[in-house]
């Protein structure tokens, strides 16, 4: 009897808290589907194939989380929305997480009710111009007309950069990246600006990619990563540690090919990552071997990178010597230890 009362009391206490902020994991489990928000199709990060399948680096983050929860990477519904409404969509609980080259900034983190989980790509803003213009530096762009996606940090950085250098520009803005790219290709602006990864991704889909060049300047720092709603720490932890797990896996040499053999590894670091030791999975609310499922489904961080945006892909962003290399190789990909 006492126990029943106690349980009732607990239930009542939880019912009083707003359901929207809590228990995302339970909601996702009940639904059987992870609602993952991506942007308008962008090669390498979230691209849409002719058969309707999504793929890309950010898509793999969603697939990894889905694998961690359900043991199956395909229990995901992708929601493709413009960047201008992405945070509203997340705040309204239309999506459970957002994985779409979104920059971590102070205002977004503190004023929009968002929680940035981890950085899965270090980017910086650059400019692309048609090669026949002969422009070789962003400092030559004084007076230029520049195409920029509205509602992005890019838009703000662009204004800052020109102000800092005492130059003027005319922005041509749109919330739809496809309209903007059409405008640029039609000559409606002198330069197109975006995160450098985004420029590379767009250019790879141009009719003639070699007719466009990137200017050497990087005018901002753009740490990109998945975002969740603020107020559900357990859910944020799950997304965060799934991504850190993928990074730790690369560091420890665990790949999608050898992950099954590695479960028997004598290395305690690997044993903890793959759940044969410790209780990290249980405490996150998923199976102890959640990282085995995630790594088997999408591979470790390095595999994901090389598969979608690496040097051998159409986008071709070499990883070596960049910020996105592992910390052991001079980069910034440094996940806290799995212990």
């Amino acid at each position: 009897m006492k126990k029943t009362l106690f349980t009732c009391g607990i239930l009542a206490a939880f019912a009083a808290t707003p359901a929207v902020a809590q228990e995302t994991l339970q909601t996702v489990r009940d639904r059987g589907i992870l609602n993952c928000q991506v942007g308008l199709p962008t090669p390498g990060f979230y691209q849409l194939a002719d058969d309707g399948m999504w793929s890309g680096m950010d898509v793999d983050m969603c697939r990894a989380v889905s694998a961690a929860i359900f043991g199956d990477p395909d229990q995901v519904e992708y929601q493709s929305v413009t960047s201008a409404v992405r945070f509203t969509s997340l705040a309204n609980a239309e999506s459970d997480m957002l994985s779409r080259t979104t920059t971590w900034t102070a205002v977004r983190d503190t004023q929009l009710g968002l929680d940035f989980t981890a950085i899965n790509f270090y980017d910086g803003q650059g400019f692309m111009v048609p090669a026949d213009t002969g422009i070789t530096s962003a400092l030559e762009l004084d007076g230029a007309t520049i195409c920029v996606l509205t509602g992005t940090t890019t838009e703000l950085n662009l204004a800052d950069y020109f102000r800092a250098n005492g130059m003027s520009f005319t922005p041509v803005t749109n919330e739809n990246v496809n309209v903007l790219v059409e405008t640029y290709l039609g000559g409606g602006c002198d330069a197109y600006t975006n995160d450098k990864s985004g420029l590379a991704a767009r250019r790879s889909a141009f009719p003639d990619p070699s007719a466009h060049v990137f200017l050497p300047e990087t005018v901002s720092k753009e740490p990109l990563g998945p975002v969740v709603r603020q107020g559900d720490d357990a859910w944020a932890n799950l997304v965060r540690w799934t991504i850190y797990g993928l990074m730790n896996a690369e560091e420890l040499g665990v790949t999608s090919e050898n992950v099954q053999e590695m479960t028997g590894s004598a290395d305690p670091n690997i044993a903890r990552l793959l759940g044969s030791e410790g209780n990290i999975g249980e405490e996150l609310g998923v199976s102890p071997t959640f990282m085995v499922d995630a790594i088997a489904a999408v591979g470790n961080y390095g595999e994901i990178y090389e598969r979608h945006v690496g040097a051998d892909t159409a986008i071709g962003i070499p990883r070596e010597g960049t910020l996105n290399a592992l910390w052991t190789e001079g980069g910034l990909i440094y996940a806290p230890p799995f212990r």
């Binding site: 201008a84 945070f87 009710g113 007309t145 509205t150 838009e155 020109f162 041509v172 409606g188 107020g231």
Partner: protein, 401 residues
């Protein structure tokens, strides 16, 4: 000893008075209105509190305090000076000015073009009538958004680049960055020149009013419109020469990437104006046609019997009667133009919806105040246009005595 009536009413009497008051239609209606007002206020307070509570629950900031924060993004086309470091409030003002510019220019062009097409629809010439008819049917029956995008991508974005610009006339340049035209610059003696121009316009209007009054009083006509046009054209021209060219022109010149100097509007503005005025002109044409056709044939025959010249028949007999039919639907077309201008967002023209409800909302995250301010603006504009047109409508309505 006389018995005084009891000053304090008995309980039965008081009850009777209350029930009598409740049965009184006037008191009852006041009571119902007070209760309704209270209910509306209570609902409003509840909505505000509920919203604030929900925003807090989601850790989102609310309120209007963001208005003096620096916006930090550039705007491609502004009527009032704007810099990237200006506040969000300034962005709101820029958006309002741009929206009003689009609305005013589109309304003027759509009216001129609509009247023209509407009269062409009535032409006895079969070819003119058929051309006007097909124009109306094609443009009116395709979605406006489609037309805006078609004009933008199909025409203005395909124009030559700045180096190969089309020069329409000296200083009027068209390329895929926009339309450039010379800007007037005030020189010495400009204020005198401006006063002369203003005086000429006022005099012409005064002349017209005087001619109307005299016509009504004596029946004698005076060609006030022709004289007025002549005054407004020739007096400033004379003043311009006499005062030694008080206005010089700032010509757009190709410098670096684009033309600089002069006035310029971006291609998105051109596409928006062309599409909006073409689309609205079709509806206005049909309104004009229906208005003119609503005037009964007997009126024309009567004018003919009086041997009135044909332009008089149109101006003095047909139009005054047609206006009664034309004005009310015309008001709603003008309101539509103002609201339809928000489709500018599709091609990135920085109107209110684009810079305020899209860019600012996304950069600041203050959805509720921003949407509320936008709605308040459109509401205010629509209500004022409607008020002005209603006053005019009252004047052209049948004067019943």
């Amino acid at each position: 000893m006389t018995v005084l009536p009891d000053a304090t009413p008995s309980p039965e009497g008081r009850r009777g008075r209350i029930s009598r008051a409740l049965n009184d239609a006037r008191i009852r209606s006041v009571l119902i209105q007070v209760l309704t007002l209270l209910a509306v206020f209570a609902a409003a307070i509840w909505i505000v509190n509920n919203t604030v509570a929900n925003l807090n629950a989601r850790n989102m900031s609310a309120g209007f305090d963001f208005l003096d924060v620096s916006a930090g993004f550039g705007i491609g086309f502004t009527l009032i000076p704007y810099q990237e470091g200006d506040s969000y409030l300034r962005v709101f003002a820029v958006g309002i000015m741009n929206t009003l510019l689009v609305a005013v220019v589109a309304i003027v062009l759509a009216t001129i073009f609509g009247v023209f097409v509407g009269l062409a629809r009535l032409s006895n010439n079969w070819i003119i009538g058929a051309v006007a008819r097909s124009y109306v049917e094609v443009i009116r029956n395709t979605p406006l958004l489609l037309q805006i995008i078609a004009w933008y991508f199909g025409v203005f974005n395909l124009l030559p680049r700045p180096r190969d610009s089309i020069e329409l006339a000296n200083g009027f340049v068209l390329n895929n960055r926009g339309f450039y035209l010379p800007a007037p610059v005030a020189e010495a003696g400009f204020s005198l020149f401006a006063a002369v121009v203003l005086g000429a316009i006022v005099f012409a209007i005064g002349l017209y009013v005087w001619a109307q009054r005299r016509l009504e009083r004596t029946g004698q006509a005076f060609p006030a419109i022709l004289t007025g046009v002549a005054i407004v054209v020739f007096v400033p021209l004379l003043a311009y020469v006499v005062l030694g060219r008080p206005v010089s022109w700032d010509m757009p010149v190709l410098q670096g990437f684009n033309f600089t100097g002069g006035l310029s509007v971006p291609p998105s503005f051109c596409a928006l104006i062309v599409a909006l005025s073409a689309y609205t002109s079709c509806f206005i044409a049909e309104i004009i046609r229906s208005g003119i056709q609503s005037v009964s044939k007997g009126q024309l025959e009567a004018a003919g019997a009086l041997n009135l010249p044909s332009n008089w028949t149109l101006r003095r007999v047909v139009m005054p009667q047609a206006m009664r039919v034309i004005i009310p639907p015309l008001i709603s077309q003008y309101l539509n133009v103002t609201k339809n201008s928000s489709l500018a967002i599709a091609i990135g023209f920085p109107d209110l919806v684009s810079v305020w409800m899209n860019t600012s909302l996304n950069q600041s995250g203050r959805a509720i105040p921003i949407v509320a301010m936008t709605m308040a603006f459109y509401c205010a504009v629509s209500l004022s246009v409607s008020a002005v047109m209603n006053v005019y409508n009252k004047r052209v309505q049948l004067q019943e005595r």
